[in-house]
Amino acid sequence: MWIEIAHFATLLALFLSLLLFGAPLAGMRWNNMAWVRVGRQAAFWACALLTLASAGLIISFMTHDFSVKYVAEHASLKLPTFYLATAMWGGHEGSLLLWAWFLSLFVAIAAWRHWDTHPVSMPWVLSILGALQVGFLLLVVFLSSPFVRLLDPPLDGRDLNPLLQDPGMVFHPPFLYMGYVGFAIPYAFAMAALITSQGDGEWILATRRWTLFSWIMLTIGIVFGAYWAYYELGWGGYWAWDPVENASFMPWLTGVAFLHSVMVQERRRMFKTWNLFLIITTFALSLLGTFLVRSGVLSSVHAFATDPGRGVYILMFMTVLLLFSFGLLTTKSDQLQGATQLESPWSREFSFLVNNLFLVAGACTVLLGTLYPLAVETLSSAKVSVGAPYYNKVFIPIMLGMLFLMGVGPCIPWRAASKRHLRREFLVPAIVGIAGLPAAWMLGITHPFGLAALALVLFVSTTHLRDVTGNVRLRMARDSLSAPAALWRMVGRNQRRYGGMLVHFGILIMVAGFVGSGLFQEERNLFLSPGDSLRLGDWNLTLESMGQTARRNWQAEEAVIRAERPGETVTLKPQKRVYNEHSQPTTEAAIHTTWREDLYVVLGDPVKDGVWAFRIYRNPLIAWIWFGSGIITLGVSLAMLQGRRPQRLST
């Protein structure tokens, strides 16, 4: 019953999306605002209907309606309630519906919030977003329908993929999709600005919060995914550079470029075309990645189950979108000639440009690495792999350049910096960074990238800290305030700037985590029977016993390991789980996290009676990665607090 309601609601939403696409166009053609208002109402109602449709699908899961094919394939009677509700996005069809629902929600919010403030561009914005929504809903309704009934319903479902029965995986997709879909709003405003030839940047001010929101959602989504890979896949790492991950990383990189480059347009009215290019690229990459993954173009060797019709449709959708966007950009951009006047390469404008160069080069590297195997396969008869070693050697140096610019950008003045100024700002940080090299060497970092990363982390944190302390001291002297009060007022007056700096600090913390876990991971691969012990770092681990445990829908072998070091004793219980409906066992790593390192134990296969294979890792500083991403979230939230209040020039 509910599934029919959901299906009908989605069909109606598709119809309303067509209206959302067409009515504003008609309104502009015949100069009748009533039509535009019809489009706006259609956006609201489409959102309500898709909310109903998503709820209908979730209710079908909650009521174990296995006559629905999608439910039967992604749930079972014993699946815990929490995962039952979230299984809605556990498969291709449902996650597309979730995507469409987010889109309609954001469109409705945009139609509500920007209606009064943007009367000129609103009809175009609505129409463009309507077209996108139509594109998605056509896919949901005709090519990947989650509403299909089975003629012969099974008594129990096939259960959710065990790897997805995990809190990390529950939250990973929604955040990622919110990030992807969120970029649709700034994209639509940018396109509207192009069409109406109002590229002077009002669209950037209007969509600043949307951009920040989308970017932080994308960040959180990516980090959730990495965290999930870390503790659920049991291989001691968190990022494998596979096409799915790369797909989310590319828009993240161009998104960062956009966030920086728009500041230049806001302040100096420059780079108008470039900013349009960046937001179009960011949104296009958001779509490209998902589509790449779903069309089956990039799949592993033995994943045969892809629907050719879906791939063709997705390609057509992408073609229309890309040609429309970039075609419009190339034909209309000449009308946007800004008053570009760069006075000096020693300026913030120029450092942001170089920052953009590095970020776009980084995104292109990831794109190249992702598409290269496809190109080789298509254009020749060979087949190649591009894996982590490639990215470690090519992508990391580019990002090291980026790290350097991160230290320069916020502290170099706009327009032109004098030699004296440069010396004052950067001499001390440079000395600190270089002095860090021998210290890093003594710490045991011998890898050139590790050394460079550490020196740059020191350089960047020194520039940032000096900037903050300098300004605090200035305020303390000028307004005779205490240090915390001065800091509070300074941050309060310019949340954008200090939010940005906080994000930079978060990145630095993450870089420390990357270096620590990347260069100093220690691992042991060995067989243990109860009573055996081993040493790893300053830990002494003893396998105390092996046992079994079970929950509603799985059984597991469980090892009990006592880990001791001076002043600390913990018990670790890694598991090897077998879910009822799935034969492939999953590993549940046991992780003991401290700020210094993670102790990470994976239970492998039994070797003979009472002897088991184990993999034991010591991952230094890995918690810093998760902590750093939290700081980034705080920083972006701070920057979002500040509305359109003008920014103040500092120093």
Partner: protein, 159 residues
């Protein structure tokens, strides 16, 4: 019923396991096994290495690598063994010859070309005479609120 090879392996493992609880460390050959297996692709996975994947094929490939390392074969020989059977596809790190140069050098060439283009553009922009060295005129058609905001901003441009 096990194959003789499997029986041998099992026997070897059992011999390697001393009786009774003890402090253990991993087999000294394991570091080389890991080093080799981390650079070979699990043939059925999406960009996961043989070492990191949980798939059956990866586990068996790891076992083959381990056997070969314990037989005393060198890294090069073992890598060649897999390359002969699975082709370039098996290397997670693509080779540097032929077409793959595009992959390895492309990003850096792009970066250099971009840097060069930036500097060239910089020269062009600087050559352009700037009418007023002061602030840019306000945008063409903003509403009154926007004008007001810009005015405020200009006023506040002092710390």
């Amino acid at each position: 019923m096990k194959s003789p090879a499997a029986a041998c392996l099992l026997a070897a493992l059992l011999l390697a396991l001393p009786v009774g609880a003890a402090t253990r460390d991993e087999d000294p050959t394991e570091a080389l096994v890991r080093h080799i297996a981390k650079d070979l692709r699990c043939a059925v996975c999406q960009n996961q290495s043989v070492y990191e994947s949980n798939s059956d094929l990866a586990k068996d490939m790891l076992r083959v690598i381990r056997d070969k390392v314990r037989e005393g074969q060198s890294e090069g020989v073992i890598r060649d063994y897999f390359h002969q059977r699975y082709g370039d596809y098996i290397y997670l790190e693509p080779t540097t010859g032929g077409m793959n140069r595009l992959l390895w050098l492309g990003p850096f060439v792009g970066l250099l070309a971009g840097g060069w283009a930036l500097l060239a553009a910089m020269r062009k922009w600087r050559a352009k005479p700037t009418a007023t060295p002061g602030n840019d005129p306000p945008p063409a058609a903003p509403d009154a609120a926007m004008q007001e905001r810009i005015r405020q901003e200009l006023e506040q441009m002092r710390l």
